[in-house]
Amino acid sequence: MKPGHGEVLIAEGDVEVAEEEELLIREFRHQLDQGMWAAVPERTNVGRREARMIKAFEDIPRDADRVIFFPRAAGGV
């Protein structure tokens, strides 16, 4: 998510392909280095929708179809 722009595709690829996985890892780290938070929306066992916050690339479920980056939360006024 980018303020003023909404959803922007950063990178896409298949984690089963080594080169593409490398690219995804690089972009993932780059986003986190920029101070973004990462989350994967998912469905729980009971059918509830929720997000899983991701702090490391290894934490992303292998079958996740997307990771959403959004600005880190800060206290508002």
Binding site: M1, K2, P3, G4, H5, G6, E7, Q34, G35, M36, W37, A39, P41, R48, R49, E50, A51, R52, M53, I68, F70, P71, R72, A73, A74, G75, G76, V77
Partner: protein
Amino acid sequence: MLLAAIAIGVVIVALLWDLVLPSVKEAVERYKARRAIIPGSSYDPGRERRAEQRARQLLRSCVNDEEWAMYRDLGFIRVWGGLSRAPRRGRISEDPRAGAPYAYLVYPHKPIVAYLPQTGELLNEYCVEFPDETRPYGSSRLPDSDDVLAKWMALTGDERRLLSMANMHLPGRQVDPKRVRRDLWHLSQWERERLRRGRRSQGEVGAA
């Protein structure tokens, strides 16, 4: 005679020249200014609308049907809180609210309002923003639906972390409690109607 006429003509032209020249110059400048290419600003009036449309699609793809319908119809999403703990067995908590289910109302670009669904009591306002530290986008804010989605993800993904970063205030600091109570009433009506419609459609399926 001819020479005199020419001389008079030259004098008249010379006198008029001083009068006419400034307005001619001004007209030329105006013409140039009209034709000049002004470096355009990159502001695109449709950009924010398109961003909001994309944000709505993204939000819809993440939350469940009920939450999406709630946002579409009422303009906010209710997210159930996950940190309440029941009082320990054999102990009587001093706070009668301990362990009671609570929820949040998530509005776009407004504080998150925590409340008790059973009583409608408003608990707190959590002021939280998602400022973009990266440039060159850092000046504007997230589209409305992205702001709601960011709050939804942060609340459902790591509620404790979000609350620790938010500024907590008593209800009514930014969001008018009357408005929240009205929204809660609308929400209850909306849920009742949705339930009724669901039952009706189930009945129709059963009858068919």
